[in-house]
């Protein structure tokens, strides 16, 4: 079996980061193609499709996640620089930010407090463990920030990452329908809510709908990462000390 040229090739490729790095990009491109074929409907979320394809490949080839991540970490690493880059859309939108300061501050505080308390409240009500609750709390902010918060408070950063991605997908898929139901038509408001709730995945979806919606989503994502990082750790530490 080891002499079979395909196996030899597989053993060689499986040991290098190149294979899973390339496959991550290939699966994402396929997912984007499917998303476009589906008329850019939110139900064909590219992140969800790419993740499903990659999980299928890993299960099929019996590859452990660690091996996959050795290759995919180069993509994952870019989340940090991408978070730093959010300074640029923030700076570009500084005038609009000033003009809409009051609604933005109000919506931001509402988003940060609702995101954490609804996740902890619903999770606790249905019997999630403390570790899971802490991992759930920062799920609405972008991955490196959420993972940092989760780690500081004793959650599982890698579980938080999964929950962050899931929250992003849920918001991107259900947001459009919910806004229609609530009669919200203003692109600025729709974008802000999507970015504050569903970080980068919501922002990517918002940019596909309209540039205004995208700008506000990016703005909300940057602001909520900042405010959550400042507010959530002390609030949650107090909450854990008092009741949990």
């Amino acid at each position: 079996m080891a002499d079979d040229p395909f196996t030899t090739l597989w053993v060689y490729l499986a040991a290098s980061p190149l294979l899973w790095l390339s496959l991550t990009l290939v699966c994402y491109l396929i997912a984007l193609r499917i998303y476009r074929l589906g008329g850019e409907s939110p139900w064909f979320n590219p992140v969800a499709i790419a993740v499903a394809l990659l999980i299928g490949l890993l299960l099929l080839t019996d590859t452990p996640y660690q091996t996959y991540f050795d290759g995919a970490q180069f993509v994952h690493f870019l989340l940090g620089p991408a978070t730093v880059s959010l300074a640029i859309p923030l700076y570009r939108e500084r005038h609009r930010l000033q003009r809409l300061a009051l609604p933005i501050v109000a919506a931001l505080l509402a988003a940060v407090l609702t995101a954490a308390s609804s996740a902890i409240g619903l999770g606790a009500l249905l019997g999630a463990s403390t570790e899971t609750l802490i991992s759930l709390a920062p799920k609405s902010v972008t991955a490196p920030v959420a993972m940092g918060i989760s780690e500081k408070l004793g959650g599982l950063p890698s579980l938080t990452a999964v929950l962050v991605v899931s929250t992003g997908i849920v918001g991107a898929v259900l947001g459009t329908g919910l806004f229609r139901l609530l009669g919200i038509r203003d692109d600025a408001i729709k974008g802000f809510a999507l970015g504050a709730t569903s970080h980068g995945i919501g922002t990517a979806r918002a940019f596909q709908v309209s540039p205004v919606m995208g700008a506000f989503a990016g703005l909300a994502m940057a602001l909520s990462a900042l405010v959550t990082a400042l507010l959530l750790p002390p609030l949650l530490a107090r909450f854990m000390a008092s009741g949990g």
Binding site: L79, A87, V145
Partner: protein, 120 residues
Amino acid sequence: MLEALTLILVCQLVGEVSVLITGLPVPGPVLGMLLLLAWLFLRGGVPESVGRAADALLAHLSLLFVPAGVGVLVHWERMRGQWAAIAAALVLGTLITLAVTALTMKAVTRLTGRGGSDNG
């Protein structure tokens, strides 16, 4: 392009190191973002190359979440054990947050009597 990428990475590095040294409760990349923002304000504009590098990184933002998403494999057992709690927090929690945020912003925008966007 190289200068721009270096600037972004150095901002993150300074952010991460400051957090390690001072024990600030903010994640390193967020501090890096504030540093870059401060630099942009001091400079009074976004240099073209920095704008392009940031746009390139942000254009495929959703791709960057894929490796973390595949991590669901590792946490499958835990998530299956607490699936109702996690599903409720994910789906209901996200819908509630979207609704509260949007309705708050709509209400305060109306109260302060200004349109949310130029076409709104």
